[in-house]
C-alpha cells in the first residue's frame, strides 16, 4: 500500500493520477474495489478509527493507494469532538505510515517520498 498525505487541497489526488497511471473510475472515497481511496479523513469521521484501521489492515502489501488530509497542524480546537477527531486521524495514520510500503507527502502538488 502507498499512503499519500498532505494538507487539504495540496493536489494529492492529482499527484496520484499523474504518477500512478490511475483511471478516474478507480478512485473513490470508500473501501470497495477502487484501487485509490481518497479522503480517508472523511471515512475516519464517518466510521470511526477502529473500523478504518480494520479496513486498512486488509490493504497492506497490495497495490492500493490511500490518500488522507493531514489535520493536526493548527491551534487545538475548543470543541472536544474536534480535538478527539484530530487525535483519531493521527492514530490511524501513525499505524498506516508504519505499515505502508511507501509514504508520500504532497506539498503544493510536489510529492516527497518520506518512506
Amino acid at each position: 500500500m502507498i499512503l499519500v498525505i498532505g494538507g487539504r487541497s495540496q493536489g494529492k489526488t492529482q499527484y496520484v493520477r499523474e504518477n500512478f497511471g490511475v483511471k478516474e473510475d478507480e478512485i473513490a472515497c470508500g473501501f470497495g474495489k477502487n484501487r485509490v481511496i481518497v479522503h480517508l479523513e472523511k471515512l475516519i469521521r464517518e466510521q470511526g478509527a477502529e473500523r478504518v484501521i480494520k479496513s486498512l489492515d486488509e490493504l497492506y502489501g497490495t497495490d492500493r493507494i490511500v490518500c488522507c488530509d493531514e489535520v493536526g497542524m493548527g491551534i487545538v480546537p475548543a470543541d472536544a469532538g474536534d480535538r478527539a477527531y484530530r487525535d483519531e486521524v493521527g492514530r490511524v495514520l501513525c499505524r498506516a505510515a508504519q505499515k505502508a510500503e511507501r509514504v508520500i507527502r504532497v506539498f503544493a502538488g510536489i510529492g516527497q517520498n518520506i518512506k
Binding site: I5, G7, E70, M73, I114
Partner: protein
C-alpha cells in the same frame, strides 16, 4: 546540545523525541529527566497525561512537573521538555510573563550548556484560521521560539505520523 522535534497533533512527535532522549542518555550513561509542562484542568487532560506516562513507563525518566519556570540547576543529564507549546501558553496566559519568548529561550539555552535538551514543540501554523489578538500573538511567539531553537539546535526533526523528516542535522 538541543534537539528539536515538531509535528501536529497526533503526529507521533513525542514517541520520536522520547526515543531520541533515551538513546542520548544511554550513550552517555546520563540521568534522564522529563520536564512535564502541562497543567491539568479536567478529565481529558488527565487522560492525556496518563497516555504519555504509560508511553514512557520503563524508559527511566524522572518526571519534573514544570508548568512554570524551568529548573536550570541540572547538569550532565538528558532533559526531555514536553512541550514548548504548553510552556509558552502557561507563561503567556497563566503566569503573565512580560517577555515569554526571551524567558523560555533563555531557560532552554541555559539548560543546554550543561545537558542535552530534547524539546518537543508543536505545528500550529497551518490551519488558515483567523484568531483573536491573544491567540494570534501566541502563534507568532511559538513560531518565533521554534525559529530561535531550530537555529541553536543540532537536530531539527518533524514527525509526520511517526516518520522522522529531518530538517537539520542527523538522527542518532
Amino acid at each position: 546540545m538541543i534537539c528539536l522535534f515538531s509535528g501536529g497533533s497526533g503526529s507521533g512527535k513525542s514517541e520520536l523525541a522520547e526515543r531520541c532522549a533515551v538513546r542520548l542518555a544511554q550513550k552517555k550513561g546520563a540521568p534522564l529527566y522529563y520536564f512535564a509542562t502541562m497543567r491539568v484542568w479536567d478529565e481529558e487532560g488527565e487522560r492525556r497525561v496518563q497516555k504519555h506516562r504509560t508511553q514512557r513507563e520503563g524508559r527511566g525518566f524522572v518526571t519534573v512537573e514544570s508548568p512554570s519556570r524551568l529548573r536550570t540547576d541540572i547538569k550532565g543529564s538528558v532533559v526531555l521538555l514536553e512541550c514548548l507549546s504548553n510552556r509558552l501558553a502557561n507563561a503567556l496566559f497563566g503566569d503573565g510573563e512580560k517577555n515569554p519568548v526571551s524567558l523560555i529561550e533563555g531557560e532552554i539555552l541555559s539548560l543546554s550548556r550543561e545537558n542535552d535538551v530534547v524539546v518537543v514543540t508543536n505545528e500550529v501554523f497551518s490551519d488558515g484560521q483567523e484568531y483573536e489578538k491573544e491567540t494570534a500573538e501566541y502563534i507568532r511567539m511559538l513560531g518565533r521560539l521554534n525559529c530561535l531553537l531550530a537555529q541553536a539546535a543540532q537536530l531539527v526533526v518533524e514527525s509526520v505520523y511517526g516518520i522522522p523528516v529531518v530538517h537539520k542535522g542527523e538522527l542518532l
